[in-house]
Point group: C2
């Protein structure tokens, strides 16, 4: 069993996929999110999407940071993480507008006081206001905070979103074809709508990143921040304390691991409003990292041979954990968290939009024909790696 | 600090109410659920509700039962709990139709295998089919299952629902007035749409009920089923094993604690479709138990002097825990989980509807005028108890 599995997480979630495989797949089975008929409006030209996701174990890290610094505002970023994990999935089906948002927070009330809940709720409101200022119309509808200390060691933050969408606007990822280019939007750096440098971590691979980087001091100080069933030699095995600088960035290690997940909503909205016909598909590189694309399209060989240089945080995780580079690309986004797939004409258009937001962009690869199931080849500065759906 | 607080839960959630008090209260601030404008349809005659809730620590009990029996199907009831905690809240604003449902499950993958997730998803689908057969149109939209062992000891099951509603159909609980009667719908017994006797427990007070009733053997066998920070003398302090019979019922203690939360949707739908004008308000006696009504209406003294006899499970919890009867009514529903408040003409109508579903019903009390804030007097077989919002 790998280090990742031994910590009780899997980037592939095989048993969960099995549990849901007999469920109705909705109107657009090939799409990034499940899409159902317009039960909310009963209009045959519309459809509905209700989608759920959360900040995952990133909240355990925020808890460490909060206990160490005494500053609950670090949880504002966790609220953003939970929202972006939803809305950036929505972008991949062509949805970016008139979104209803609800939160579900569970906490251990003995360890997580009201000021943390306040910070999550404030972060939620602030990020929604930022989105609105960027032209993304989203409305908070309330939510639930449950005191469930018998279930939760610390705190979990999830969000759910709902919207109606015109069926003709849906991107179902069924148009991806050989000859398409793959444009990657950077996960790192600082866009015009962010207030500081972003490490690019997003909200995936955090269990691994946290344990690989942080010092075992935290295991003794905050035993509530991890599963006691994890083998002791896999708990906080790293060299860093939260306040240590992360080489190659203006951030501390703690702040780098807690960089709020960047949204690509303003860029994708602008692109789709004007140039939707050029787009064959969109892939949010969340769980599964750079291999996420394998689930979309048919008979496609994804060739990624021009990735961004691996950002400092991922380089550091690899260096201290000795994780194989092949696995790194399966767990982390490694530099871009959104892929726009389509006509070669896309590149200058996306470049122009991204320039306005100070977001780095590049053609990271292309689609070729695959005889059987989808394949992926990554040719990187660290080697050439082959992937296939359902295989290692 | 009381036994309840020492276990890290509060039926009042003061700090959470404080954290959200500055948020926009929506279109109908007096209503049971937050209601917002019709962002989904942009029709001024409509409004939107998005609501979240879950099975709480009842899933820890299901985990015990599952580990003890090897039978994952016990988790089907947990799926029902999470759904009913939402839809029976929706009933209280007059909503019972065309509901979208999403689930958010978090688990410790080392302890909670795929067969449990499968049972939750199956339970979800089965209960939705039951609701549809009862005339409640609800659609599953998918959801998220996250492996977050560093956060979760076992498993948490939450649901979120969304719907559009005509504004004229909204029940905002603002019409509750002196002279109204309070009709209670039983939480215990067996309705025509249930397959076995229901203890009435619902999904509130389960942390307390579980620890008060169950034997300390479970503390040693399943330390992952509770917060290790709970003082040892408050962990599983009861006399019972899961398979022991519960006196006065056909159920074992385990099955009684796990009785799936009953929905009142078919009864409330039938009532509101024909007789909405007689209804001043609806109260789901969830968190806060019999004192939940205090949050609704203005200048009302709720007098409850004809409650159902306390069902066996709650009697047993009181007997073994020595909890004061006054506190029992603040934590548990104690016999009815839904209150219909309105004209005296309601009683025979509700009785007739309930008879069809084999659901016990009675007038449990009435509304009188209160000079200041709302008050509640419970005159029960166990004494007379006075309550006021924000006081003990």
């Amino acid at each position: 069993m790998g280090r990742y599995q031994s910590r009780g997480v899997s980037s592939k979630k095989e048993d969960i996929h099995k549990a849901i495989q007999h469920l109705d797949q909705g109107l657009f089975p090939t799409a990034f999110c499940k899409i159902v008929e317009d039960h909310l409006g009963e209009d045959p030209e519309y459809c509905n999407i209700m989608h759920a996701d959360g900040a995952g174990t990133k909240s355990s890290l925020a808890y460490l940071y909060y206990r160490n610094s005494g500053d609950p505002s670090i949880f504002e970023g966790i609220a953003q993480d939970a929202i972006v994990m939803n809305i950036d999935d929505l972008l991949c089906v062509g949805a970016y507008d008139r979104i209803l948002l609800s939160n579900t927070i569970g906490r251990n009330a003995k360890l997580v006081p009201g000021e943390v809940i306040q910070a999550i709720i404030d972060g939620n409101e602030k990020f929604v206001q930022l989105l609105q200022s960027l032209g993304i119309v989203i409305t908070t509808t309330g939510g639930e905070t449950a005191d469930v200390g018998d279930l939760l060691r610390t705190v979990i933050v999830d969000s759910t979103v709902t919207l109606r969408l015109r069926r003709e606007e849906v991107i179902a990822n069924n148009l991806i074809r050989p000859g398409d280019i793959i444009v990657g939007l950077a996960s790192f750096g600082q866009t015009s709508y962010e207030t500081e440098y972003n490490s690019g971590i997003g909200s995936n691979g955090l269990t691994s990143a946290r344990h690989e980087l942080l010092h075992e001091d935290y295991a003794h100080q905050y035993p509530e921040s991890f599963d006691p069933a994890i083998p002791q030699d896999l708990v906080y095995t790293g060299p860093f304390h939260l306040d240590d600088p992360l080489e190659g960035t203006p951030l501390t290690v703690g702040k780098a691991l807690l960089s709020p997940t960047r949204t690509y909503a303003p860029i994708i909205k602008e692109l789709l409003m004007e140039h939707k016909s050029l787009v064959s598909g969109l892939v949010h590189c969340s769980g599964g990292g750079q291999t996420k694309c394998l689930r979309f399209g048919q008979g496609i060989e994804y060739v990624k041979d021009n990735l961004f240089p691996v950002p400092p945080l991922f380089r550091t995780i690899q260096r201290v954990s000795h994780t194989s580079w092949k696995e790194m690309y399966e767990v982390f986004n490694m530099g871009h968290r959104m892929e726009i797939i389509g006509s070669a004409q896309l590149l200058p258009i996306v470049q122009e939009i991204c320039a306005k937001y100070n977001l780095q962009v590049r053609q990271v690869g292309r689609c070729e024909a695959s005889k059987g199931s989808n394949r992926l080849t990554i040719s990187s500065e660290h080697g050439v790696f082959e992937y296939q759906l359902g295989r290692g």
